[in-house]
């Protein structure tokens, strides 16, 4: 984001700020919040705000990994299935080992699946869409097999402390989410790896010719994405206290939608972690608001789909205008 000089008039500051995608998205999120709080008296209550944050945790965590992948110009359709599969792995592991061992095992499993996809995509040059589609099918199938086609309950009760302990009145899972976004933002903005991810998505060949480690940073986002799917399912399990082989069905679509609403280009190279966070919040707020207003859940898809398309259309129109000037 451009930092305007102190002497510039307020109008130019505003114009410059509006040029930044994140600011526009923030505007959209705030607009949405105002509309929803006007339509429902329950929306702007402390309880509901924590509700929204709580509902943002799972999709928010997965969307971070998806942002990494999409920034390189790839896509990860397997996160929902990896979410389900690592949930089953975690639940099964918890039957035989303590929590501090079981969780790393599940996360490692998620990372391993990501590594598998990443190597196929970056080393063998297979299309990300197809590879992760295949991994999605395999993951879902394995989660049914490992679970014996049923939900696994009887998880150790201490697991819920991950979610229900608080710090300064903020639930642990929300704190984790905020910490994760800070970390991801810092990484993507200030490190060589983060900038390499952008450069790969923008022009892989140029990044390689400039001596950047394109192979490593083409694989790494898939590993991050797989690992974060497992982290997300850990929080989910701690809340529901049972693992369902169908869990995370279509989670990948929500995550992709959040990243795209947040302004990332599916061709790679363009997007930001702040945008993704706003995209997640926008999606969750719409769901939450429609629920509060008593709108049938079957209409939620229409609402979210329309928002995605409208957001993209608005961006395109803005870009056309600025290209013409």
């Amino acid at each position: 984001m451009a930092k305007p000089a102190a002497s510039t008039p307020i109008q130019t500051i505003l114009m410059r700020a509006l040029r930044s995608l994140e600011v526009r998205m923030l505007g959209l999120a705030l607009l949405l919040a105002v509309i929803l709080s006007l339509s429902s008296p329950f929306f702007l209550t402390e309880r509901n705000i924590f509700n929204i944050l709580d509902q943002s945790v799972v999709i928010g965590i997965v969307a971070v990994g998806m942002t990494f992948v999409i920034l390189t110009g790839g896509i990860d359709l397997s996160v929902g299935a990896v979410f389900g599969l690592t949930g089953i792995i975690l639940a099964q592991a918890l039957q035989v080992m303590p929590i501090p061992l079981a969780i790393p095992l599940a996360v490692l499993a998620g990372a391993g699946i990501g590594l598998f996809s990443g190597v196929l995509i970056a080393v063998f040059g297979l299309a990300p869409f197809v590879v992760t589609l295949g991994v999605m099918a395999i993951g879902r199938s394995l989660s049914f097999i490992f679970s014996g086609q049923r939900s696994i309950s009887g998880l150790p009760p201490e697991l819920d402390s991950i979610v229900y302990s608080t710090f300064l009145g903020i639930p642990a899972n929300v704190l984790f989410l905020i910490g994760l976004y800070l970390l991801a933002w810092g990484y993507l903005t200030y490190t060589k790896g983060g900038r390499t991810i952008y450069a790969i998505g923008s022009n892989m060949e140029a990044a390689r010719a400039a001596g950047l480690s394109t192979l490593f940073y083409s694989i790494m986002p898939y590993v991050v994405s797989g690992a974060l799917a497992a982290v997300a399912v850990t929080f989910s399990l701690a809340q529901i206290m049972s693992a369902d082989p169908l869990a995370g069905n279509q989670l990948e679509l929500d995550a992709i939608a959040a990243v795209v609403i947040g302004g990332a280009s599916l061709y790679g190279g363009r997007g930001s972690i702040i945008g993704t966070l706003l995209g997640v919040l926008i999606m969750v707020m719409i769901r939450n608001g429609l629920n509060l207003m008593g709108v049938s859940p079957f209409w939620q898809g229409t609402a979210i789909g329309s928002i995605i398309i409208l957001a993209l259309l608005a961006e395109r129109l803005i870009n056309w205008r600025s290209a013409r000037n």
Partner: protein, 642 residues
């Protein structure tokens, strides 16, 4: 155009060069007062253009001068904001490319309007494919062959080949045939020579000559001034959207006149020789030995010393770019050694090369150098980031270096956060070069550094490179523009068909010699065969060489080495073993002091270009063959070749 302009007086001149058709008064197309605005940008202001049948008009200007805008208006791609066109005496309003084609106006673009997966035949008749009803492929094939043979029978194309398998020159031929299939009377060639080799350019000009004789009106858009002089009858020059010289006879102009009009000021000599003494170069800092990277690079060796600018010359497709990409490990290498300061290094990934102190400005700016979504600052720092090993991006520490560099290079400091794509091609190129200077390399490799760069920025890029060399960098420049290579480099390694065949000081070369040296070996096979035949029939030593004053540059040689000529080497007559023959250049065998005898026969092509001399040297007491017989054979060689 202002009335006081010196070029104005020449507008009346009608004498066109050489034996071309006389200029005719009837105008096919006139454009008057044409303007085009894109938002606030005025791409074209009050432009005018006249095209006549049987004439080639050069449309010249620096990048962004409005040449393309004007040609796109005439060919119906875009509509003018204001202005009048008339065609064949009637007012012309074009609302689409289709309109223009229907009128017989075609734009021969750089291979952009072809469908790569369709065949040559389908592409030639692509507009017909859209018409309802059955197509007769038999009739189309017959017509296509007619069209192509009308362009000269040497231009036969396989009609069933898919267009993507064709060379750039062949694709252009398809474009031209496509325009002819529509009975186009007016053709605009938009920078047609940009991706062609010298031989291919000659062929294209042959075709344009035929079209001119066939009463077509042609417009020729180009950067390359020497081409403008060899093909155009008149020129119209644009600068910053305005016409600064309209419809001026080319014969009355000098290269300097044109540059002055294009740039708006006298930029002096584009190439100014460096002041640094070329004798003082040290040991080689960078050496490549027997590099092989199939299929393009077969055996390439060269070395460059600190402070030296080395040129790698050759035709497009000779394997120069591929060799650089192989060094940079962007393509697999099968063999070869790379030495930096005498020590072999292993380059397994580009980062290895960057850390060894090598910089590489790849050929395709948009595809291989620019990262479009990153800002100018980040693009500048990209190679720097590839070079250092830290975890963080490390921009802060280098802020000062960036500031110094952009001040040195005259880049705008306030637009560092803008997109690189908003800059002109020349400025982009400067920034990419700056990217590598920032890594403080010892060796800088540049592949076609001035491609698509306007003439004003070109000279400043040359200065940057010369300053870098003065500061002790070893600079390697690849260029298909031989004039540029000769003006910039101290030494030139010529590459042909993937083999480095000559290593010569630039001072001893000319564009003609370079062209002959660079000719692909496959196209010289007939000459080679003649040499072998001569040696077989008469014994001794047969060779093909260029002669310039007292100097020889041997291109090929077969036999026992009686002549003392070695392919790829420059020698003055006294250094060879046949000085008398070289000095005499007689129509007969000339004897040397030791009795060996040599016959030299000159080859010229149809356009009268010197193709060098075929020589046969025999021992003192050999039976001399008839000189006339050999001359006939040499002449047959060139007659058949064309």
């Amino acid at each position: 155009m202002r009335p006081g302009d010196p070029l104005n007086r020449q507008m009346i001149q009608t004498q066109s060069p050489s034996s071309r058709m006389p200029v005719r008064a009837d105008q096919l197309l006139t454009a008057r007062g044409v303007s085009k605005h894109f938002g606030k940008t005025r791409a074209l202001v009050d432009a005018a253009l006249t095209l006549r049948p049987g004439e080639v008009v050069g449309l010249l200007g620096a990048n962004g001068a409005g040449k393309s805008t004007l040609s796109r208006i005439i060919s119906g791609h875009i509509q003018p904001t204001e202005g009048k066109l008339s065609f064949d005496g009637a007012p012309l309003v074009l609302s689409s490319v289709r309109d223009a084609l229907r009128q017989g106006i075609a734009l021969v673009a750089q291979e952009t309007s072809l469908a790569p997966d369709l065949t040559v035949l389908e592409n030639i008749f692509l507009p017909d494919l859209a018409t309802p009803g059955r197509l007769s492929f038999r009739a189309m094939r017959a017509r296509a062959n007619d069209l192509l043979s009308g362009l000269g029978h040497e231009h036969v194309l396989p009609l069933e080949a898919e267009v993507r398998t064709l060379s750039a020159a062949q694709r252009q031929l398809v474009e031209i045939a496509k325009a002819l299939a529509l009975d186009a009377r007016l053709m605009i060639f938009d920078e047609p020579t940009a991706s062609l080799s010298a031989t291919e350019v000659d062929r294209l000009f042959d075709i344009m000559d035929r079209l001119r004789v066939g009463d077509h009106a042609l417009a020729f858009v180009s950067h390359r001034l020497e081409e403008v002089f060899s093909i155009t009858d008149r020129v119209t020059i644009l600068r910053e959207g305005r016409v600064v010289a309209e419809d001026v006879a080319t014969s009355g102009l000098t290269q300097n006149d044109i540059i002055q009009h294009m740039v708006g000021r006298d930029i002096g000599a584009i190439y100014s020789k460096r002041k640094g003494a070329p004798e003082n170069f040290g040991a080689p800092v960078f050496e490549v030995r027997n590099l092989q990277a199939a299929p393009w690079v077969r055996d390439i060796s060269f070395s460059v010393r600190a402070g030296e600018i080395l040129g790698l010359g050759g035709l497009v497709g000779a394997g120069r770019s591929e060799a650089m990409e192989a060094i940079w490990s962007l393509r697999p290498r099968q063999a070869g050694e790379i030495l930096v300061r005498g020590a072999p290094i292993r380059i397994r990934k580009p980062a290895d090369a960057v850390r060894a102190g090598i910089g590489f400005v790849a050929e395709d700016r948009r595809a291989q150098n620019i990262v479009p979504d990153l800002s100018v600052r980040e693009n500048l720092l990209l190679a720097q980031m590839g070079q250092h090993r830290g975890f963080l991006r490390g921009y802060g520490r280098r802020a000062e270096k960036v500031a110094n560099l952009i001040a040195d290079l005259g880049l705008p400091a306030d637009r560092l956060d803008a997109s690189l794509l908003s800059y002109s091609g020349g400025m982009q190129q400067k920034i990419i070069i700056a990217r590598w200077l920032l890594t403080e390399p010892d060796i800088l490799i540049l592949d076609e550094p001035t491609k698509g760069v306007d003439i004003g920025t070109r000279s400043s890029i040359y200065r940057i490179l010369q300053d870098a060399a003065d500061a002790g960098l070893a600079v390697i420049v690849i260029s298909s523009d031989f004039e540029e290579l000769l003006g910039l480099a101290e030494r030139i390694v010529v590459i042909s068909d993937g083999v480095s065949i000559a290593d010569l000081p630039a001072a001893r070369l000319t564009e003609e010699k370079l062209t002959l040296l660079a000719a692909p070996r496959s196209s010289t096979r007939r000459n080679q065969a003649l040499l072998t035949d001569l040696v077989k029939a008469h014994g001794g030593d047969a060779f093909w060489t260029l002669l310039d004053g007292d100097e020889t540059i041997c291109l090929a040689q077969t036999g026992g080495g009686l002549s003392g000529l070695t392919p790829g080497q420059v020698a003055i007559a006294g250094e060879t073993r046949i000085p008398q023959a070289i000095r005499a250049r007689a129509d007969r065998f000339v004897a040397e002091a030791d009795g060996r005898r040599t016959l030299l026969t000159q080859m010229t092509d149809r356009r009268g270009h010197d193709l060098g001399w075929i020589g046969l040297t025999l021992v003192a007491n050999a039976n001399l063959p008839e000189a006339a017989d050999i001359r006939t054979r040499v002449q047959n060689l060139t007659r058949m070749e064309n």
